[in-house]
């Protein structure tokens, strides 16, 4: 589902498509966890999704592959800490979606080396000088940006915790009627 929606979202060229996809991934993985009450289940789901992504046509491999794996790892860590409770799901969603902001920076650091951060820092300072902005303004902007992502992720996690319960009840109905 994530692969199909990911390709479709890329096609729409919507802004924040990475964050939207991470919200969907959070809903899928946390809802899926409601059916598999085992530790490491989300990591396994992430691993399979990442490998399927490798073989899906027309995608650049390294970025999404590691993004899916790391997001699954973060969700697993949060649920391991708080259980598959509502706060656990909300925190897992927040971590997954906030990570989408950091992922390009981490990937670029791996590919270009630590020097890319020096270039970004120098550019930010230069632009700040021209616009008469200080570091505090930049920090505020980054904080706001991360905060919006965290809120969206938290909402996705909250929705997933509800959806999980509804889906489990629906499955029981289906199995009784079969």
């Amino acid at each position: 589902m994530e692969i199909t929606l990911g390709t479709a979202l890329k096609g729409t060229r919507l802004p924040f498509s990475g964050a939207i996809l991470a919200c969907i991934a959070a809903v899928i993985v946390l809802t899926g966890r409601a059916f598999v009450q085992r530790r490491g289940a989300m990591l396994m789901m992430g691993g399979v999704a990442a490998l399927l992504k490798i073989f899906s046509v027309g995608t650049v491999i390294a970025g999404p592959f590691f993004a899916i794996l790391i997001e699954a790892l973060l969700a697993e860590a949060m649920v391991a800490l708080l259980g598959l409770t509502r706060p656990g799901c909300i925190l897992a969603g927040m971590a997954m979606v906030t990570y989408t902001v950091l992922h390009p920076l981490i990937t670029q650091g791996l590919f270009f080396g630590g020097r890319i951060y020096e270039v970004y820092w120098a550019m930010a300072r230069q632009v700040g000088q021209w616009l008469h902005l200080e570091i505090a303004h930049l920090a505020l902007f980054i904080g706001l940006y991360l905060g919006i992502h965290a809120i969206a992720g938290g909402a996705a996690g909250w929705f997933a915790s509800r959806l999980g319960r509804v889906a489990v009840a629906e499955l029981e109905k289906l199995e009784r009627s079969a």
Binding site: V48, I54, I61, V119, M123, L163, A167, E170
Partner: protein, 188 residues
């Protein structure tokens, strides 16, 4: 698989050891080696956005930041930064080519065998199962999504949860019925 892993290790080593002193020979040699091993890897450079990113990352800081000690076509630029930025882009080109060349050699079968060799049997089984069931699940998702009345569902969040809940339940139900556990039960 061993050869592919060896090329991957060699490519990553070349990219990591790339420096100002050896880039003149190491970069062309490494790119030529990838070209001999797998020309398809170069297809990643058909994307114009990647080139635009490279140009921006090299040119803009060079023109805007630091001590501009050289001039090109009347434009003052930072020559030290240009050298370092070019090195950074060369390193990323090498890494991208190496990883693309490695993943081009991977196939689901090879990967599955590799996972078995690493004693990740359970993961291998889950991966094979997911791959095998993907077309059927795709059909179920499409049918169920078409069945949801989105406008109504989006106006009433409870309706959306119920609709998606049915979709997830149907998916799990289909997966359980057509998975290996089901065939074992039927066989017994």
């Amino acid at each position: 698989m061993k050869r592919a892993l060896l090329f991957l290790a060699a490519g990553i080593t070349a990219a990591l050891t790339l420096g100002v002193s050896n880039q003149i020979w190491l970069f062309p040699v490494a790119v030529a080696a990838v070209a001999m091993i797998d020309r398809r890897a170069f297809r990643i450079f058909q994307r114009w956005k990647l080139w635009l990113f490279f140009v921006l990352i090299v040119a803009i800081p060079v023109l805007l930041v630091g001590n501009k000690d050289a001039i090109w076509l009347g434009l003052p630029y930072n020559s030290r930064m240009l050298r370092l930025n070019l090195l950074m882009v060369e390193r990323s080109i090498l890494l991208m080519l190496t990883i693309k060349s490695f993943t081009n050699r991977l196939s689901p079968e090879r990967l599955s065998n590799g996972l078995k060799r690493l004693h990740l049997h359970q993961f291998d089984e889950v991966f094979r199962l997911a791959q095998g069931m993907l077309p059927e699940l795709h059909k179920t998702v499409s049918a169920e999504l078409n069945g949801i009345e989105w406008r109504r569902a989006l106006r009433r969040p409870d309706g959306l949860t119920a609709g998606l809940g049915r979709l997830v339940a149907r998916l799990v139900f289909t997966a359980r019925r057509s998975g290996p556990a089901a065939s074992t039960r039927e066989g017994a």
